[in-house]
């Protein structure tokens, strides 16, 4: 699982520091102006400029003066109740049955010998539920209104004092209620499936003659080894992503329940920067030429370093055991040397003003796994104001909760690769069930967005066409980042028109387009740029469902940050508003009997 730095911004950082609020207002403004212009052009063709302008202005005025204030909760509730009844009586709960069948036979197609079974199970149920609920939302929302219009039932609705706002709200709320009910059922079953699939017990067997070490019985395709300390307590080795607490009770060695597989670690992330070979601040780490640009590298035995700045860290967030932190550092070797010995590095903790700094803690890179470490709160060897001293972490280093962590590579000509999310402190973990619920809230938010779009499209398209339109939103929502990549990486010679011309010319995209006609080439570049800008703008109006897909957080046992969830909630509310306003204008200007 890879986290991007933006994922651990707090809600207010996202809203104000990173200008989400500003861009939100900008988007509203652009859409409002665009909407007014389109409406005006349509009205102009029908009624002429003066009357057209008046009609559009009146329409906008009615939304704020008449229809929003006149919206009745009872009417919205009536339409929502109807949507629920319709869905239930049309046997929408069959989705639940399909899900039950799917998880009943999950053992057939899920690898029970997987290295991380909990991760596999959680990922499976969350992803499966996600797609099922989105498909459910798609079908519920796209067919209802067109079906009412086709069967003319809408005649008996809109001839009552029902406002377009109520038609939209009622349907969205009704379908959301149905989806929520289905999601609750699926979520409960998923939770049972995961917990029952993961929880297991071992017995201590093959105990050594001194009674301090041994092996557990084999359960669910694995067993553990353990060593007890002098107090008779210990922890097994980690297998299949979990450990067990082992303790001696009387003469008997008892193996406790598993720990580490169903958890919600609470990572505290910091912002990252690099220093270059000269020890000066560099914008980025080194690029070793890997295809992945996620990791940036620091060179061994040089002044290169990666520095994380943490803020708002307090003693209360940690247990008595000390300051625990996880690292996922990768290594890049420029020579093989001793292939068995891992590349080495060191980590130091220091105050922001540099007055207090610990001695380096050396480490050897554990590639492709989480390196879990901890340091005590007090008695840390280091220097204070350049004098050797024993440091108290929160008193000397993390003044006001702010401190830095510096990582360097020790081995000459070897490199350590890392990203911002590769070092974090672990606060007291949250309950797994709550993280599981948060994962489902993310699915719920995606479902609401799909329902909003489905209802919006169904206000002016027929059922099947609305399905295709909403499906396009879902597909672009999950894979829209391709569009971003294309636009970001496209220079002026690989746009759609240039690419089209390259096909018959058999010209590769790595070369400059050479048609022997400079004005023509320039025109093609301008057209391509225009097309790509349009595509990118369009892609921004489509929800990035991929960002809202948080199954990995739950599966990898990382607490889904409240800030991230709040952001998703805000994004969902934004799309709800946008689709609501668009639906209003379509419902208001549509002839229901045409």
């Amino acid at each position: 699982m890879r986290l991007s730095p933006d994922q651990f911004w707090t809600y207010f950082e996202w809203l104000f520091v990173h200008s989400a609020l500003f861009y939100g207002f900008l988007l509203v403004l652009v859409l409002a102006v665009l909407g007014f212009l389109i409406g005006f052009v349509v009205a102009l063709l029908k009624h002429g400029p003066a009357e057209g302008f008046l009609q559009v202005s009146k329409l906008i005025g009615e939304l704020f003066v008449v229809d929003i204030p006149g919206t009745s909760i009872r009417r919205v509730g009536a339409i929502a109740r109807l949507a629920v009844k319709e869905a239930i009586r049309k046997k929408v709960l069959v989705v639940v049955a399909v899900f039950v069948v799917a998880i009943m036979f999950a053992g057939w197609y899920l690898d029970q010998q997987a290295q991380f079974p909990a991760r596999l199970y959680i990922s499976f149920v969350l992803t499966f539920t996600n797609y099922m609920v989105l498909v459910l939302g798609l079908f519920l929302s796209c067919f209802s209104l067109p079906s009412d219009i086709k069967s003319k039932i809408i005649y008996t609705i809109v001839t009552k004092p029902v406002r377009p706002t109520e038609l939209f709200l009622g349907r969205v709320l009704g379908f959301t209620a149905v989806g929520t009910l289905v999601l609750l059922l699926l979520g409960s079953m998923s939770y049972l499936f995961v917990v029952r699939g993961v929880i297991h017990e071992h017995e201590a067997i093959e105990i050594s003659s001194d009674g301090v070490s041994g092996k557990t019985s084999r359960q669910q395709f694995h067993s553990h080894e353990f060593v007890l300390d002098e107090t008779g307590n210990g922890v097994t080795n980690e297998t299949k992503g979990h450990k067990h607490v082992v303790s001696k009770v009387g003469d008997k060695i008892v193996v406790g329940p598993s720990i580490g597989d169903l958890e919600a670690r609470v990572p505290i992330y910091g912002m990252m920067r690099f220093t270059g070979r000269d020890g000066q601040v560099a914008n980025d780490g080194l690029n070793v030429g890997y295809m992945s640009e996620y990791h940036k590298y620091i060179e061994g035995d040089s002044l290169c370093s990666a520095i994380w700045t943490f803020k708002g860290v307090s003693r209360d967030s940690f247990s008595e055991g000390g300051l625990t932190y996880d690292m996922t550092i990768s290594a890049f070797r420029t020579y093989k040397g001793d292939i068995v010995t891992p590349v080495g590095g060191e980590v130091r903790f220091r105050s922001v003003d540099g007055s207090a700094v610990t001695e380096p803690f050396p480490f050897k890179v554990k590639e492709f796994q989480v390196d879990q470490r901890s340091i005590p709160f007090t008695g840390l060897k280091g220097s204070l104001n350049e004098q050797p001293a024993e440091l108290d972490f929160f008193k000397d280093i993390a003044k006001n909760g702010e401190f830095e962590v510096v990582i360097r590579c020790q081995d000459r000509n070897q490199y350590l690769g890392m990203a911002a999310g590769d070092l974090y402190f672990r606060a007291e973990p949250q309950a797994f069930w709550w993280n599981f619920i948060k994962g489902y809230i993310s699915i719920w938010l995606q479902m609401v967005i799909v329902i909003c779009f489905g209802v919006m499209f169904s206000t002016f398209l027929s059922g099947p066409v609305a399905i295709i339109a909403t499906l396009s939103v879902i597909v672009l929502g999950f894979f829209g980042f391709f569009v971003d990549d294309i636009v970001k990486n496209a220079d002026s010679d690989v746009g759609p028109v240039a690419s089209l011309i390259r096909i018959p010319l058999q010209s590769g995209s790595g070369t400059q387009l050479d048609l022997g006609n400079i004005p023509l080439e320039r025109t093609i570049r301008v057209v391509d740029k225009g097309i790509l800008i349009c595509v990118q703008t369009l892609s921004k109006a489509i929800p990035n469902l991929n960002q809202l897909h948080t199954a990995d957080f739950v599966a990898y046992g990382v607490n889904l940050f409240g800030g991230l969830l709040s952001r998703h909630l805000t994004v969902c509310a934004g799309y709800f508003l946008m689709t609501g306003i668009i639906s209003y204008f379509f419902l208001k200007t549509r002839e229901m009997a045409a």
């Binding site: 009745s72 009844k85 319709e86």
Partner: protein, 308 residues
């Protein structure tokens, strides 16, 4: 039992502008295709008024513009030219719907709901509180005679029952103005008679009714005024009694005349400038005959007709 006869005088002043419930001014509708090309000129410059307390009939053959007129009045369509006002407000104003009841040509209702749920749903759309909804639902179910089918889903209803529940939903808000599109379609003669009686009772309660029907006899029986449309144009508008009156023919109904007196009457007409057109015994209508037989059958079950 109530008898079906049209009232001779509307109960309100026709000159008072506040008594105009519906007014159309130069109302026109052209249906266009996707590309904006003209398909049908469905309604041309319609100017009519429906006055408070009257039963107004819209007559015309298929495609004459009756349904288009109703849809324009209800805001289901937007006019191409002119305007329609209901209660003095533009026909597209949602607020007017508070005072309107509408029974469409076919009862377009949710088939998965039962009668109670249907009325409760439409009651909610009028923002009626729960106790009022319950009371109105009970009254209307009694009124349309669906007590025994109140919990059955509408998909199990016969066409007549569907019409009844359709009418009930149109009356849920005790509307001042009722729009009935082909209200007797699908009803048997008894149902048709009951519907006509009900329409008259509603008029007596002070409601204004706009009725659109192919059944000319129904229109004649209940309407005060009619507008006859053909090919989207208004061809005739006026009171039913004056439109149907044959000015130069005199009709005398008498009972217990002997043959001698009948002969004297014929001679009297022959002596005057008049012309004897017909003198015979009147016949009842098929509707009256059918209703008499059903009533008698209800009172004396088991008795069979002798045949002729």
């Amino acid at each position: 039992m109530a008898t079906t006869t049209a009232s001779t005088t509307p109960p309100v002043s026709v000159t008072d502008p506040t008594n105009v419930i519906v007014e159309t001014r130069n109302l026109g509708k052209i249906y266009r295709d996707f590309w904006g090309r003209k398909k049908v000129n469905a309604l041309k410059s319609l100017d009519i008024e429906v006055r408070r307390g009257e039963i107004f009939g819209l007559l015309g053959p298929n495609g004459s513009g009756k349904s288009t007129t109703i849809k324009l009045m209800l805001g289901l369509l937007f006019p191409t030219s002119g305007r329609a006002f209901v209660f003095g407000k533009d026909a597209t104003d949602v607020a007017k719907n508070e005072r309107i009841g509408y029974l469409p040509e076919e009862s377009y209702l949710y088939k998965f709901l039962n009668a109670e749920e249907t009325l409760d749903f439409y009651g909610r759309l009028f923002d009626m509180p729960a106790n009022v909804r319950r009371e109105r639902t009970e009254q209307l179910i009694q009124m349309v005679g669906l007590q025994r089918a109140r919990r059955r889903q509408l998909k199990e209803y016969s066409k007549g029952m569907t019409r009844r529940i359709g009418l009930a939903q149109a009356l849920i808000n005790e509307p001042e103005f009722l729009v009935l599109d082909e209200p007797t379609t699908g009803l048997d003669p008894i149902g048709t008679r009951e519907m006509k009686d009900l329409i008259l009772r509603l008029r007596e309660q002070g409601k204004t009714i706009l009725l659109c029907s192919h059944q000319l006899a129904d229109v004649q029986d209940v309407c005060d005024r009619v507008a006859i449309l053909h090919q989207g144009e208004l061809k005739e508008l006026g009171r039913v009694d004056s439109l149907l009156k044959v000015q130069d023919v005199t009709q005398i109904h008498a009972k217990g005349l002997d043959e001698k007196t009948k002969l004297e009457i014929k001679e009297l007409i022959a002596r005057s400038t008049g012309e004897m057109l017909r003198m015979d015994n009147p016949t009842t209508t098929m509707e009256e005959l059918f209703l008499d037989i059903v009533r008698e059958s209800d009172q004396r079950p088991g008795r069979r007709g002798s045949g002729a």
